[in-house]
């Protein structure tokens, strides 16, 4: 069975210079699409990517990269909306590059679709009541 998941890989500084993603792709036959990345030598880094492949290979690949010291998070939990602070104004809608904010034309309520979010963070500072929060 094929799976496709969006994940955040956190690299501790000691392994930033190892070719972990290369090994992941080559040895486990996974394909990937990098959505966002920040890797600087000798510092902590992260990569947001969509990984896809056969379920058993995917599981083995995740096991490999975790044992190498990488912390893995599911991306959908990274940017969250604080529903108490959101006023449904809509300022986020045209700022989001992946159209993760969707306006209901009837009620004019703004919904946030986690599956479209690539955790770029643009909405966080663009949101006037600061309702969008980055969670790691």
């Amino acid at each position: 069975m094929k799976v496709a998941r969006r994940v955040v890989l956190h690299f501790p500084s000691r392994i930033v210079e190892q070719p972990l993603i290369y090994n992941l792709i080559k040895n486990y036959d996974l394909s990937f699409n990098i959505l966002k990345a920040s890797i600087i030598p000798n510092q902590e880094g992260y990569v947001v990517l969509e990984l896809s492949g056969e379920q058993d290979k995917y599981d083995q690949g995740i096991k490999y990269i975790t044992s190498a010291g990488v912390k893995i998070e599911s991306l959908s939990h990274s940017v969250l909306r604080n529903e108490d602070r959101c006023t449904n104004c809509g300022a986020c809608i045209t700022i989001c590059p992946t159209r993760a904010f969707i306006l209901d034309p009837k009620t004019r309520m703004v919904s946030f679709d986690n599956n479209r979010c690539v955790a770029c963070g643009l909405c966080i500072k663009a949101c006037p009541p600061r309702a969008m929060e980055l969670h790691f």
Binding site: R85, N88, C89, I95, T107, M109
Partner: protein
Amino acid sequence: MAKSISEINLKIKQGKAVVATAEEIINIARDKGLARTAREVDVVTTGTFGPMCSSGAYLNMGHSKPRIKLGGGKVYLNDVPAYTGFAAADIMIGANALPDDDPRNRVHPGEFNYGGGHVIEELVGGKDVRLVASAYGTDCYPRKQLETLINIKDVNEAVLFNPRNAYQNYNVAVNVSDKTIYTYMGILKPRMGNANYCSAGQLSPLLNDPYYKTIGIGTRIFLGGGTGYVAWNGTQHNPSAPRTENGVPKRGAGTLAVIGNLKHMSPRWLVGISMLGYGVTLAVGIGVPIPILDEEILRYTLVTDADILAPVIDYSKTYPQREPDVLAEVSYAELKSGSFKLQSKDIPCTSLSSYPRALEIATTLKEWIISGRFLLSEPVASLPGIEAGITLKLLNERC
């Protein structure tokens, strides 16, 4: 067959008043016709919820022992400076005030995560706020330093007093330059990559009473979740702005100064706001009831988003340089569709004011009136209308 406000109030007290929101009234009048609707409906409720920079609150702190003269001294609430040009225990905090150590735009665009608007939100939410004051000391007010927590429930008065709210229509902001700009109208992408507007349109108070025939000084309103009053015309009140045939202004025109007891308001309707690269402000919820005294007043409340035009203004040059150019006029119906066409370009657009919250205000006010807990007030004086001949003055420097 005209009604009076006291007749409407009698019906409210008897639980017989018929109330509709400014959205509902459009279809009611379409179905029943003008004459019958004007007879049957007593009040139309409006609402708006958006950033309103000219907002603030004054507080009387009560006197410390020994006494301190805050007037003429320095006062900070959660590090945000308050105005102290009043008597010993009175201070005022403005929505746009920033902590002295806020980096502002030193690293552009500044984040502006906390300021006066947030202090007001925390006060009204019942949170403790840290007051730090220094004064020069006098024979009758000997104390020079004060640091304490305060809470809205412990101060004598906490009054929201906003010099300019509820703008009757507003600009649609775009950016024609080649780089992103950060404005009070939000983030504007280069080459007209997006557009932001800020009005509740057909629900907005002054767009439903374009000639200020019922809204005047002393009108009781929904303010910040409590009740308040129209205190005066707002600053920059400009009834002479160009209008469509049905009287609706095509530019920012009338404004309201409003006042009310902050102690009875709620943080749901007074929200501290941060505009990236610009500053802090306060989103304010306002709802104004319009008594349907006759057919003419009813007709004004039937305005729809398609009837209201707003000017598209370039905020990269035209606005900052105070140039008069308007790129186009678009209706709120077009704006609410999510994009509009300008110079053969489709411009995605969105709102900075919340229509769902505006509707919630109009609906809440309707429920207050139906349940008899909110009576209409008779204005004691009118707001300046077109006949006042007001022209907006500009600041021209001189030596």
